[in-house]
Symmetry: C2
Subunit: 326 residues, 2 copies
């Protein structure tokens, strides 16, 4: 089995690449080759048990996409995207990568001919939804995004469903929760604090909370995100029927519940490193985000996320801190 | 005020063109110029009270679209599309016209610069919806189309909303009901019989009914369709908030109710011209179509359709038969 990861230099893509390179299998099948592609040159994992090739690619260029798909990988993970903030600032770039790039991939697959129908696992986002929201968003909620990023992901979902219906690909779209705890340095994303208020205190560093502790949001760990991708690869063809885009499970918690879990896992000293510093701009952005879901279809299909925020913190400590918080 | 109609050679586009050319006004404002564009050369109405120009255009060619938009019309009606059956058979052509064509129009408008923000009235379709359906589809129903045509229209709606949100156009998307009674010759569209069983008997000709009289569907007359477009042009900017795509009012009736209205308007002799000839293929296609809606937003915005099928038949007799059925 040949596997291609597009967006392999990103946080989740890299995690998936390292997992597949180390295990040498996907959904019970041995890998023959693993290709890692991204806009920046991905790093081949050091301990790979399968042949790994790395490719730098601009998916907004159709000839580059055709060349990438010409190797006819059996499973394609498409995780590449311009993130929300950048897609909002740079309208053309967002559409070029997030819409044209995805469409070119689907078109390049179709252009290979009827013999080639790969599994195509696409990461969508809860940004496809827009307010007003009910208390919990079910699988039948309308797609009315309020950002260019959300619009592009919603369009990709529609394309994926139509190309799958026509038999050109075996597609599945996964609407990931906000990934928390996000490893690495603090960044300027409006959602960054959800991870920062956990990651920084665990490392003995101060963190700022810009919103009220009443704010509720929808989380899953990087470990759960990896699990979603591996599980999707193992689903039998047709398991999703005609509706191939799924809201994934996650954990709906308030910031207060996040902080209580931090205290539980790392003690009052960790909690004391979080400073409240309200930021009206961030509070306004966050107020437009969904808070809770009822992902009945994904649960029925066997997708699993964490059931407590303490679990999410534990996953971070085990996977990113070699098991030990400061 | 300069007005452009794209798709002006189609049934509804032609009706709109004739209305504007004759009245010389739109939403209370005098027209300075009317441009009619289509893939086949539109006919300029004979009794025009305003300067009319006609243009043949392939909207899937960006340079042609740029040239068309360079005149900076104040109001653009975009009705051009590859219809459902053809978009399903010719995948590339459907995407080229229905997706790329619409996107090129929006991009060409944006490319003119911030001084140019025209009103852009786009005709979408109830084909953006897919089963399973509730008894009546409300304004919050999900978009899960099951045809390429429906997919393309749903994508156009998302683009229209995003370009409007960003301030590039003042967009409104109108999901038209099935237009009935469609004038002209019978055609091979699966929905053709809804019009045929009325139009043909009124003209003293036989008609075939391929489905059960229990079949329920969502109708509006060509006259109502014209009214929708004129009403949309008169809505103040921002009237739709962030959700610029609307399901329009219509009339939900069964075939039995259609036939009863035919008998009421034209007598038992007209009714006797309808022959039942069940067709399993057509019955299956029609079973996947929505039957009823609750278009609360459009009603609140003042859009109006017929309230009885007899009214729809009367509109046909008045508008297409010079007032007299045979």
């Amino acid at each position: 089995m040949k596997v291609l990861i597009i967006g392999a230099a990103g946080m989740v893509g890299n995690k998936l690449a390292r997992n597949l390179a180390a295990s040498g299998t996907l959904a019970g099948t041995k890998l023959a080759a693993l290709t890692l592609a991204d806009a920046v040159m991905p790093q081949a994992p050091a301990d790979a048990t399968v042949p790994v090739s790395v490719v730098r690619i601009d998916i907004s260029q159709r000839p580059e996409v055709d060349k990438l798909i010409a190797t006819e990988p059996d499973v394609i993970f498409h995780l590449a995207a311009i993130v929300s903030g950048e897609a909002e600032q740079n309208f053309d770039k967002g559409y070029a990568i997030n819409l044209d790039g995805t469409r070119y991939l689907l078109e390049a697959i179709r252009a290979r001919g009827a013999h080639y129908v790969p599994k195509f696992i696409f990461t969508s986002s809860i940004a496809v939804f827009g307010p007003p929201f009910p208390d919990a968003i079910d699988d039948d909620f309308r797609l009315t995004p309020t950002t260019s990023y959300g619009t592009q992901k919603a369009i990709d979902e529609l394309l994926l469903a139509d190309f799958t219906r026509k038999g050109f690909v075996d597609g599945i779209g996964l609407r990931l929760p906000t990934i928390c705890v996000r490893p690495g340095k603090p960044n300027l994303a409006a959602s960054g604090f959800f991870s920062g208020i956990i990651r920084e205190p665990l490392a003995g560093l101060p963190a700022v909370l810009p919103v009220s502790v009443d704010v509720r949001h929808w989380h899953a760990s990087p470990r759960a995100a990896l699990g979603f991708l591996l599980h999707a690869a193992g689903l039998p063809k047709g398991a999703l029927g005609t509706r191939v885009n799924l809201t994934l499970p996650g954990l709906s918690v308030t910031v207060a519940e996040q902080l209580e879990a931090l205290r539980e896992v790392a003690g009052a000293s960790a909690l004391s490193l979080v400073r409240m510093e309200p930021d009206a701009t961030i509070a306004k952005i966050v107020a437009g985000w969904p808070q809770n879901f009822i992902p009945a279809r994904a649960l029925a299909l066997g997708f699993k996320a964490e059931s407590s925020f303490a679990e999410i913190i534990q996953a971070h400590i085990e996977d990113e801190m070699r098991g030990a918080a400061r």
